[in-house]
Every structure is written in C-alpha cells, then in structure tokens.
C-alpha cells in the first residue's frame, strides 16, 4: 500500500513539472523582463546607443547589439557595466538611478539582441611584455583609444578606465582586440582574419598586458 502511495506521489510531481514547463510561465517571465527592460532602455540608453543598440555611427555609445560583444560578455558583466558606468566618460553609473530589478530587466533586453553564440579561439595564458605592448598599442590602438588608453569620444573606448579594467577580464580584452566588433569602427586585429592590422597572437598578448598595466 505504501509503495503504491509513493508511486502515486511521484506521478503527481512529474505531472506538475510537465504542466509548469509546458505552461510557458518561465518564457512569459522572460518576456516581461525584456519588455520592462525595453522601457528602461528607451528612457536611459537610446540617445547614446541608438534604437537598435548599434550605437557608434554618430552616436557616442558602444555597439551593444554586436554579436561579437554579446558573445564575449556575461549577463553579470552587462549588469556591472551599467551599474557602475565608466567614471570620466559619457557612460554614467546607473546604480544610483535604477533598482537591481530594473538593471536585470535592462540586461535581459540587451541580451535579447543576441542571435548567435560565437566561440573564440583564445590562448590559454595571456601574458606578454608590457613595454613591447606599449609600442604596439602606440602604433595600432592609440589613434582611436588615445594616449595610454584614455579613450576618444566617438572613436574608441577608454581602455585605462578603472571600471572597464575592473569588470573586464584579460581574456575579454584579448577577444575584443583580436576579433573586433562586426560592422563597427573596431575591426579584427588577429592575423588571418579580415582586418587590416594582421597582428600575431603574441602582439595581442603584449597589448593586453600593457592595457592591464594601466590599472592603478
């Protein structure tokens, strides 16, 4: 009798799980978050990042809808980028203005632009010569990213910015440098890809090491 009851309970639990998973309750929650995030985006972000998230162009903001960018950052990274902003740049910290839930909804909306997940080839260890990296940076990156990575409005991200360096890993910087962001001013730099620069892995390691050395 006990065994029959246990079996009955298990069947009921399985039934409940199947019903919930088929009800689309999670999807509808996700859709709600995206819709709520869209409202926040339109109010706070659209002027710099544009309606479609392409940013760039005549806008100041980075291209948030870039598939390379979205494949290179986690939801937590996006959350931190928005919450803490970038001091001394046009990207303010939204932490004091938006609640935790609003920030998460905004991240859901941005994430919804991702249509594919790109796998990047990255060296296992990213370590190089900062002096050589500085020389390479001066040659290939300074024109857009400014002296010592200070950044240039409408040209290149402030790479020496403390919030950028705090919430961006060496691997992510390496991917950005090597693969760039499609349909933006930032083309790929890695040898063998379509970009003009054709840098070796070692060159990019050195550049990343130099950029990391700018962290104070």
């Amino acid at each position: 009798m006990k065994k029959i009851l246990i079996g009955f309970y298990i069947l009921i639990i399985i039934g409940i799980i199947v019903c919930i998973s088929n009800s689309g309750i999670f999807n509808s929650k996700k859709s709600e978050a995206i819709a709520a995030g869209e409202k926040i985006y339109k109010k706070n972000c659209i002027s710099c990042h544009g309606e479609t998230g392409k940013g760039e162009g005549s806008k100041t903001g980075t291209a948030l809808n870039s598939q390379n960018f979205l494949s290179n950052v986690s939801d937590k990274d996006l959350y931190n980028y928005v919450k803490y902003g970038r001091n001394g740049t046009v990207m303010p910290a939204y932490g004091p203005r938006l609640s935790d839930k609003e920030l998460k909804n905004l991240v859901s909306f941005i994430r919804d632009w991702q249509t594919k997940e790109i796998e990047f080839d990255v060296p296992k260890t990213i370590s190089g010569d900062p002096e050589r990296g500085k020389a390479q940076f001066t040659l290939y990156c300074l024109n857009c990213h400014g002296e010592a990575g200070i950044g240039k409005e409408k040209m290149g991200t402030a790479l020496s910015n403390p919030q950028y360096l705090k919430y961006t890993t060496d691997k992510q910087i390496w991917i950005d440098a090597a693969y760039g962001r499609e349909e933006t001013r930032m083309g790929p730099s890695l040898k063998g890809l379509e970009g003009a620069r054709q840098l070796k892995e070692k060159d990019i390691n050195d550049i990343v090491t130099y950029i990391r050395s700018l962290e104070k």
Binding site: S58, L139, N143, T184, R185, G187, A196, R197, Q198
Partner: protein, 149 residues
C-alpha cells in the same frame, strides 16, 4: 565534337565570370612613384594590405580626397579620407609627409580601397561619393568633404 564545344563554352563562361568577380585592385601593381617621400617604417612594418593602401592613396590622391572618412577622425580635423594617409603634399601631388592614422584604422583602409576600386571601374567622382556615403554612413561621423559635382 559536341563535348568539346560544350567544354569550350563552359571555359569561356568561367573566364567571363572570373573576370567579372576579380577585383580591379588586384589587377594593378601597386608601386610607389619615386616623386613621393618613401613609405616610413610605421607603414613598412605593417601588413601588406596597409602598405598597398598607402600606395593607392598616393597614386590616386584626388579620388581618396573626394570621399569622406567615417572613422571619427573629423574630431582630429581631417577633411577627407586622404588625411588618414597623407599629412603633407608638395609640388605635383608628391607626398612629402605621411600620416600614421591609416595603419590602425580599418574603416579608413576600406573606404580608400573601395573608392580607388570604384574609380578604376570607371565610376564618376559623384557616384563614388554617393556609394561610399551609403555604405559607411552608419559607422561614424563624416569628415566635411564636399560632394563632387
């Protein structure tokens, strides 16, 4: 006999398609004219594509100068795509000083190459301007390059 004719026809067709698809840029031998200042090390130490594009800009300065650049270099006072490659020009359009901006800028390189290719394909300066504007205007702010008549 029928088979040979078919093969011949296919061969001709392939040759026509291949000729149509080949870039006008690859038909040219890009060699810097002696009237120009030699390419500096910052260009020579970069990729073949960048080297080639600097030579193109020096060879067809009027073409590259007639199209805007959209990389954002307008904030640096650039007036056209040519300013990304050439800093100063002397008599007879001879480059006397090169600009390092182009070696790090994919947008500048692509615009210059597209413009020269269109010129070699026989397009008018105005048509080139229109096509470049249409292709790159989403990338960034343009330089104040006047539209050719």
């Amino acid at each position: 006999m029928k088979r040979i004719t078919s093969l011949l026809f296919l061969g001709i067709l392939f040759a026509i398609v291949a000729a149509g698809c080949s870039s006008k840029l690859s038909d040219e031998t890009w060699k810097l004219d002696k009237k120009h200042s030699p390419l500096p090390d910052f260009v020579l130490n970069t990729s073949e594509k960048i080297n080639e594009t600097y030579v193109m800009a020096a060879t067809y300065p009027e073409v590259v100068a007639s199209v805007p650049c959209y990389c954002g270099c307008v904030v640096e006072g650039h007036k056209s795509n040519l300013d990304c490659f050439v800093k100063q020009v002397g008599e007879n359009n001879a480059v006397t000083e090169w600009d390092s901006h182009g070696i790090s800028c994919d947008t500048c390189i692509e615009i210059a190459r597209d413009a020269v290719e269109m010129h070699l394909s026989g397009k008018s300066p105005n048509k080139i301007y229109q096509l470049i504007t249409g292709k790159y205007e989403d990338i960034g702010e343009p330089t104040p390059t006047p539209e050719p008549k």
